[in-house]
């Protein structure tokens, strides 16, 4: 099973590299928006930086992951359906999408640091929260996009369905990243670890649900 998942990942990455325009267009979108916001605010610091970061992450995730199903051609879908077990395919897809989104977010935060001439106060804490949040974002949006493929207005539906579901992850991620920027916000010593554990728990639940539900959705 592990071998097959690795194969799926390898193949997905190959496909990604062959069709790099989608990933690059997302990056270009990130750079453009960050630059525009930087010019509007004049500075990128503290809550502004983190708020901008998470909002952009959500929209990038929806663009990048949300349409990953609808962009697949019909013949490739059929090919996947014949070749792979849906759960394995989904694990592979989740991993690749997480990697993509993680890289995009890393570029985003580096760009923000560069433009705002700042650095992260507690990078380790920030990246813990960030990595966990990315896993959650990817699993929710993957499930939702696989649902919305079958509907008439899929593009609008992905954001309508996924945004409310993403809010718990975003709130936790936002809180932890604000604490990482400004430790004074932390009232109780145990809070940050609680938040991280919470986020981990939500991720586990979401990923497990996604992997359980995908075979059901995949059938048609």
């Amino acid at each position: 099973m592990l071998g097959r998942i690795l194969h799926i990942i390898k193949r997905d990455i190959t496909v990604e590299l062959r069709e790099r325009f989608t990933f690059l267009s997302n990056l270009l979108y990130l750079v453009a928006i960050t630059f525009v916001v930087y010019k509007i605010f004049g500075t990128l610091e503290g809550p502004t930086k983190m708020g901008l970061f998470w909002v952009l992450m959500v929209f990038t995730a929806i663009n990048m992951v949300g349409y990953s199903f609808s962009q697949m051609s019909q013949s490739r879908k059929l090919n996947h359906y014949q070749l792979y077990d849906p759960a394995e395919l989904m694990i592979g897809k989740l991993l690749v999408n997480t990697l993509k989104l993680f890289v995009a977010g890393f570029i985003l935060i580096s760009l923000q640091n560069l433009l705002g001439n700042t650095s992260l106060k507690q990078p380790v804490l920030f990246f813990k929260a960030y990595a966990l949040a990315v896993i959650g974002l990817v699993s929710v949006i993957t499930l939702v996009s696989s649902i919305s493929v079958y509907s008439r207005s899929q593009n609008g539906l992905v954001s309508i369905l996924s945004l409310p579901l993403l809010i718990p992850i975003l709130l936790l991620g936002m809180n932890i990243s604000l604490i990482s920027e400004n430790p004074d916000r932390m009232l109780l010593g145990a809070t940050v670890n609680n938040y991280l554990l919470m986020l981990l728990g939500i991720d586990v639940v979401l990923v497990v649900l996604t992997i359980i539900f995908i075979p059901i959705i995949w059938k048609s």
Binding site: L143, V144, I147, S148, Y150, S151, R152, S153, L157, I160, L161, L163, P164, L165, I167, P168, L171, L172, L187, L188, T191, N194, Y195, M198, I202, V205, L206, L209, F213, I216, I217, K219, S220
Partner: protein, 351 residues
């Protein structure tokens, strides 16, 4: 009509009537609304005008007391009943009362008479060391000297007052909404196992009812918030999470509306229903408990909604209220479900 199969509807209506009648008509216990003077000095007379609520002070002779931290009571040597809800009293504070710190000690105003029993304003008066040279040494009484009456009334609480009755509407509607959602999820699972479209229709009908209940819960909660917290909408975590939860269920409706094929609509919306129920649990149950600043009871260090807050008189109406709303909700869902079936049959014939 077959009574045997429909007993739960009758039960629902009976409990609903009980909730409305008992929930609105049972009076509140007497309590102290306001008093004029919150500072007392040792060795001097403490004069106070008290405004009470739901009391009949003129019916029976009324006493005013100060309850000290060591459970000793000082009786007022003069009381003047103005009307049923106003009384003034003067209480001698002993000159040799032990005051350990400069901040003084907190004392509780207690009022009792034979018709209302005793009622208190907890820790309302602060007694400090006075410099008067008078010697006052009134007699001490114990708590067993207070008159008490046993009656079936809702507790009187500061801030909420009469709106404590909203427990039977706001809180009970929420609880029954969760019961309905759990049943809806059960039908979603049954659909995914058995592929019977009836389960999907039931699940959708129940979710619709739950959405209506959610809106009702939000509205009643909003009214309660205006009264107790001062605004219709506050930055409270639970409130905002709830609004998001409603958004999720609106999204469920949009999803259902946007898929034409019956089978894939049933499959996808069942999956989404289960998924969003898990997210709802995370939103409403877990996250508010983690945050430090919630106004709701049971969150952010506030005492949980149990024990003293929910006493037995409230419970006697609160639990039937939950059952009533849940049963009425199932009834509503059944009607929606039947309408759905009829509509589908009609459409099948038509085309």
């Amino acid at each position: 009509m077959n009574i045997k199969d429909n007993w739960w509807k009758i039960l629902g209506v009976v409990f609903m009537l009980y909730t409305l009648i008992a929930g609105i008509l049972i009076p509140l216990k007497p309590g102290v609304l306001e008093f004029s003077n919150s500072r007392a000095l040792t060795g001097s007379i403490y004069e106070v005008d008290i405004e009470t609520y739901n009391t009949y002070l003129t019916i029976a002779p009324t006493n005013v007391w100060l309850l000290l931290p060591d459970d000793k009571l000082i009786k007022a040597d003069r009381t003047n009943v103005i009307d049923n809800n106003h009384i003034s009293a003067s209480i001698p504070i002993p000159h040799d009362l032990e005051i350990p710190t400069d901040r003084g000690i907190a004392a509780t105003i207690v009022i009792d008479n034979a018709s209302d029993g005793f009622f208190i304003y907890p820790d309302g008066v602060r007694i400090k060391k006075g410099d008067s040279k008078n010697t006052l040494s009134p007699e001490y009484y114990s708590i067993s000297d207070l008159k008490s009456v046993k009656d079936f009334k809702f507790p009187f609480r500061g801030v909420v007052f009469e709106t404590i009755r909203n427990t039977f509407f706001h809180v009970a509607i929420w609880m029954s909404m969760f019961i309905i959602l759990i049943v809806s999820c059960f039908h979603s699972i049954m659909y995914l196992i058995k592929k019977d479209l009836n389960h999907d229709s039931r699940s959708a009908a129940l979710t619709t009812v739950a959405l209506v209940f959610g809106i009702a819960g939000l509205l009643t909660g909003s009214m309660w918030a205006k009264f107790t917290w001062g605004a219709f909408w506050t930055d409270d975590v639970k409130l905002n999470m709830t609004a998001i939860a409603l958004l999720i269920y609106f999204a469920y409706w949009i999803l259902r509306a946007s898929i034409e094929d019956v089978d894939s609509r049933a499959r996808l919306s069942s999956v989404f229903n289960l998924f969003s129920f898990v997210c709802l649990m995370i939103l409403v149950m877990v996250i508010p408990r983690l945050s430090e600043d919630s106004l709701h009871p049971g969150n952010g260090g506030n005492p949980a909604f149990s024990g003293e807050d929910l006493d037995n008189t409230l419970r006697a109406v609160f639990y039937p209220a939950i059952i009533a709303y849940a049963l009425i909700g199932f009834w509503m869902a059944q009607l929606i479900y039947r309408y759905d079936i009829l509509k589908n049959n009609f459409l099948d014939k038509e085309y």
